[in-house]
């Protein structure tokens, strides 16, 4: 069976190559003549500067440096060896338009200890680019792919076999937004725009504990692997967090907005299902499975992001105050960490809600 699978893999590879070569022959775009922009990647939850409507086909150049580094993920000082694209968990958001080419320089720092690569769910072929981007510490590679589909897509490290989930649960994923050329729409011919956009990467961690129940720390990434695999196999994360650690987007780190502003919330989860919910708000327009070619669902209370995908929700804030944006498995939100806050300024609208009677003793 395994042999057959191997053979099938080889035939598939051969077919992919044949198809690939014939497409190469047919390719018409002279990429060398396209304008190039260098997109400065920024740390989540922010998005890089971008146009909502395309100004024309282009090559979007980005550079990501992979860093293996210790990160504190909660108030207890729990450590994880983060395998961080560009030094952040999640990796930075890339933004382009459908039809653009993404040209990524991927750098594996010399002081890293492992081979890394990148698999873009937005790309076509070669395991999402994974098969063309394996690099050892001290090496770099340049991958170009065409963003043929619009939507929000996950990217993640996929260096083969057991390394794939192990790298991903060490924070090695991010997302790319491929906007339709003409921008977002409601699927009925009406344009949709946003005043702000935020990017939330949800991360599940599996931190081993010692015999006293304390989270273990490891001198090197490899040292933790055997223990971590055992925790991973339970499929029960010890932490489920937004943007790398508990509290990364709450309280003073809350996401800002104003009443009347329309906010695009991009939510990625490379490994595990999640169900975002904006407490006290809604999803006015939700591309639940991430594809902008599908008409958005409207007026959702909670939406579903399948593990290994990203989704988008558009909401116009109508009331001021603190909103919690959670993974609405509330155990995951409250006990495991998957909570963010929106801090919204503006004027309260009594029409939408009012406390008619303040709390008082029960009246007979």
């Amino acid at each position: 069976m395994k042999r057959n699978l191997h053979k099938i893999c080889q035939y598939l590879t051969a077919m992919i190559l044949l198809v690939g070569f014939s497409l190469t022959v047919q390719a018409q775009t002279d990429i060398s003549k396209l304008p190039r922009i260098t997109q400065e990647l920024v740390n989540p939850p922010m998005l890089p500067k971008h146009d909502q409507v395309s100004t024309g086909q282009k090559v979007v150049q980005v550079r990501m440096v992979i860093e293996e580094k210790k990160m504190i993920i909660d108030d207890l000082g729990t450590e994880v060896w983060a395998f961080a694209y560009n030094g952040s968990v999640p990796g930075p958001m890339i933004v382009a338009h459908q039809g653009d080419y993404i040209e990524l320089t991927l750098v594996n720092k010399s002081k890293n200890s492992m081979v890394h690569n990148i698999d873009f769910h937005a790309s076509t072929g070669a395991l999402g680019g994974g098969a063309l981007t394996d690099i050892a510490p001290g090496e770099e590679v340049v991958l170009r792919f065409k963003a043929t589909k619009s939507g929000v897509f996950v990217y993640h490290c996929a260096p083969g076999g057991i390394m794939i989930p192990w790298h991903v649960i060490h924070g090695m994923s991010g997302a790319i937004t491929v906007l339709p050329k003409e921008g977002l729409s409601d699927g009925k011919g009406n344009k949709l725009t946003y005043d702000r956009a935020y990017y939330i990467g949800e991360q599940d961690y599996y931190i081993p504990k010692d015999e006293n129940g304390n989270y273990k720390k490891y001198a090197t990434p490899a040292a933790g692997m055997a223990d971590e695999l055992e925790v991973m196999k339970t499929l029960t994360p010890t932490h489920i967090v937004f943007n790398g650690k508990v509290g990364a987007l709450t309280d003073k780190n809350a996401l800002k907005a104003k009443v009347g502003e329309t906010v695009l919330i991009l939510h990625a989860q490379a490994n595990r299902d999640t169900r975002p919910h904006l407490i006290g708000g809604h999803g006015d327009y939700v591309w639940e499975r991430g594809s902008f070619a599908n008409a958005p669902k409207v007026d959702l209370e909670t939406w579903f992001i399948a593990g290994g995908s990203a989704g988008a929700a558009l909401y116009t804030f109508k009331q001021p105050g603190i909103y919690a944006y959670v993974n609405h498995n509330l155990i995951e939100a409250v006990l495991k960490g998957a909570t963010a806050h929106f801090d919204v300024e503006g004027k309260w609208n009594d029409d939408l809600m009012t406390q008619v009677v303040k709390p008082r003793p029960i009246q007979q």
């Binding site: 699978l5 191997h6 053979k7 492992m114 050892a136 090496e139 076999g161």
Partner: protein, 260 residues
Amino acid sequence: MITHNVITVLIALLISISSAAQADDQLNQVDYPLISVPKGHYTLYIPDNNFFKLGYLEKKVSFDSIIHIGKFEVSNRLWNLCFKLNGCNRPVMMREGETLDSPVVRVNWHDAYGFSKWYSSYTNKSYRLPTEEEWVYAAYLGKDHRNIEIQYDYSDLNKIREISKKTMPLGSFKENALGFSDYQGNVWEWTLTCWYASEEKKLKEYSSAELNTPQACTTRIVQGENRSHIPDFIMDTYSGGCATLEPAANLGFRLVLEEN
């Protein structure tokens, strides 16, 4: 009380050692047969890309002296001798039906490297893991080894197909004209050679002394039924379908004796 505990632990340890090293009455007779590969030169074909196998980089390799390389992989029996003499940190882990005459598997690169150091001191000779250049030369005797895995006649591999991951006793698989055995069995073997993506580093000549240290790199080439590169701390691989091509069935190793 502490003494009592220590004794209990020691007894438990002794029991586990004796059961692990069961039927090792021949333990002190274990030797490690070598074959001699004549000096010469050949072209090592290094896949440019493991997934696409689009092409090969050609590396001219020459050997000025005979290579003394293990006829077989290192056995469970030999590993247990290492454990018994405190050279290795654990006894072998065998699956049901595997024997002490099977190759030791579920060893990471550091285990294999550590064993080579121990065996060198045990024999007072200089053993190490082979480089990929040496391994391929010993296996294919300088012949064109491109696409070995693709052109391989799988109908001859009934044995492997039936036994799946379980190891077979040394010598159960194919042997070449020089007596180099089991090189296409279900154990893939660690080498000293570091994996790099860049052509420059793939073709660069590294001496075995440069490579024969854990500091040289962290991902090493394994050779066997297929070629792969695996992080040095991995002992066992998991099946992964197309995403990984064929994962190594088992990870083991053989040694080279250096002439001083």
